[in-house]
Subunit: 313 residues, 2 copies
DNA sequence: TAAAAATACTCCATAGGTATTTTAT
DNA sequence: ATAAAATACCTATGGAGTATTTTTA
């Protein structure tokens, strides 16, 4: 198949002008050049595209169909080139992002919203994955950006910390409250927690923090939304383990306690493939993530009166 | 926009092979030719389409999008050329046909069915039009084929008779029956007739035939289907004027009488624009119409015992 | 060292231009 | 006589080939 876009342009111009001279002008070529091009094209099609008569050029069915569909093809190909050009400038394309619960609970929604606004041509594909899954997917180039829980040691990836998240204890403010209150002292309390279906890794992490403290929590309620969990705690139905950033919501009737237990750490980093450092979309997304990194949560909680650092005893 | 289909072919081949040498083989060009083509294309896109590293070629977003949409464009353009080729052979395209009631009642449905079977790629556009409307539409090339009532005198058109249709009188077989029965003798009878909404021209023609005979028919019933009209006549509810070909249905309890009145003639011809005589689809359709022309209705009715020729008195 | 892409250089096919002819009214 | 497309002929651009170099693991 040797028909080129220039041939389609010629047929479309001719279909509109129905006059070789004027169509040639529009195409910025001479009339004989257009005539030759059309004759050659007619040879490939196997029949006339136009009926030429004195002062009267008319399309045949073959010509009408070629012009009609040719118009679409030309528009499409122009749009395709434009799309590719925008992709080269990092303004279009696809960005595949892996994330876990801790990042989605934090600042990620806001980053996504702003990135989508500033890059309306970019499709964002989000995949909920555990950190090990993300590492493999990043290495295999199945995702472009990951939000992983630190530490990560993989020299195929570039990893930049963005959030010093931790688990904290959430207690109803009517509960007994003194300096000695810690995770161990609430071991017998009813626990409320983010549903495992919502985030297996977070759920499992919370359980493992309890296990490290020496007990298995008695879970009386699961909820799909962090805000629901905090409301139930505030209503006095039990205690919970939540990401520290939840304290920023200032839920009524809830107090927070830091956990010094090392396992309570849940530091989040943004990661990408080493070779993708120059990919425009990856660069731009990472820039936006790092610019959006909230002021240290640790600092802000230190200023809040209802959160104190305690041991796990 | 100077991107050609050959460029898209190159990107698609490269996207699949991810290897300049093998992609060049597949495209039946040398490796340097492909390299040059891609570099030039990258210049037009404004950025790299592929990341070349030792033993490792990978698409950028710009390249991925160009290859993905390019594949569609190549398929589309191939299909477009194929369609145009079929149109040049008279196997595809559009055929716009004008027709009136007398042709649609006769053999046209059968011709359409067979034409559609033998030309599955051809779209048939049917428009119900009066003969004068058809003549104008044919001259203005708004329809390709017309079925017109003769006589037609228009030297822009080619006209070929295909059906010697006439109006005949349909009478219930229980009615009095003798050689003198004609249109005038049933002037006082109730008339049943094809609904005017179904065919104004036929309806008006029937009325005008009565007027030429000297009376206005008392219409007691209209029906949308010719078969319904005949059934009502057979049931003794009245008399009717119908196309002569209706006699071929041999409806029970109905007798037919020829009308010698000249105005009762309703000869049908197929017509097309003089300049369209070489258009493949027009040629083929006309051939099929003329081959399908039924044996003279006049002859067949002459052999049928229940139809006699009479005057209009 | 070897695989793979880029570069250098030559060639020629072909698209396009100008001048002219043909055709139809 | 004239408008419009086709033809003749020439030119030159640029795409393709071969040979070679560069790059990188």
């Amino acid at each position: 198949m040797d028909v080129e876009l220039a041939d389609l342009e010629a047929v479309v111009a001719l279909a509109e002008a129905l006059h070789f001279g004027r169509a040639a002008d529009r195409l910025h070529v001479s009339q004989p050049a257009l005539s030759k091009r059309i004759r050659k094209l007619e040879g490939r099609i196997g029949g006339p595209l136009l009926v030429r008569r004195y002062r009267d050029v008319r399309l045949t069915e073959a010509g009408r169909l070629l012009a009609e569909r040719g118009r679409h093809l030309l528009r499409e190909s122009e749009a395709t080139v434009a799309l590719s050009q925008r992709a080269a400038r990092g303004e279009a394309g696809r960005l595949r992002i892996g994330f876990g619960i801790a990042s989605i609970l934090g600042f990620l929604p806001d980053v996504l919203l702003r990135f989508r606004r500033s890059h309306p041509g970019v499709q964002l594909h989000l995949r909920d994955m555990s950190t090990p899954e993300q590492i493999e997917a990043l290495a295999a180039r199945e995702v472009d950006i990951g939000f992983v829980r630190l530490p990560v040691a993989d020299d195929r990836l570039v990893v930049r910390p963005v959030l010093d998240e931790r688990l904290v204890l959430a207690i109803g403010s009517r509960s007994p409250w003194n300096a000695r209150i810690g995770l161990r002292s609430v071991a017998a309390e009813p626990f409320i927690i983010i549903a495992r279906a919502r985030s297996a890794s977070f759920y499992d992490h919370a359980i493992s923090v309890c296990a490290a403290t020496g007990f298995a929590p008695r879970i009386v309620q699961e909820a799909n939304e962090l805000f629901t969990v905090l409301s139930l705690v505030g209503a006095g139905l039990g205690v919970s383990l939540v990401p520290r950033s939840a304290a920023l919501m200032h839920p009524p009737g809830v107090r927070f306690r830091e956990l010094t237990l090392p396992q309570a750490a849940w530091d989040i980093a943004v990661a990408w493939h080493r070779d993708a450092s120059t990919v425009p979309l990856v660069q731009r997304f990472v820039e936006m993530v790092r610019a959006a990194r909230p002021p240290s949560v640790k600092r802000r909680l230190a200023a809040a009166p209802r959160t104190r650092s305690v041991g796990t005893r």
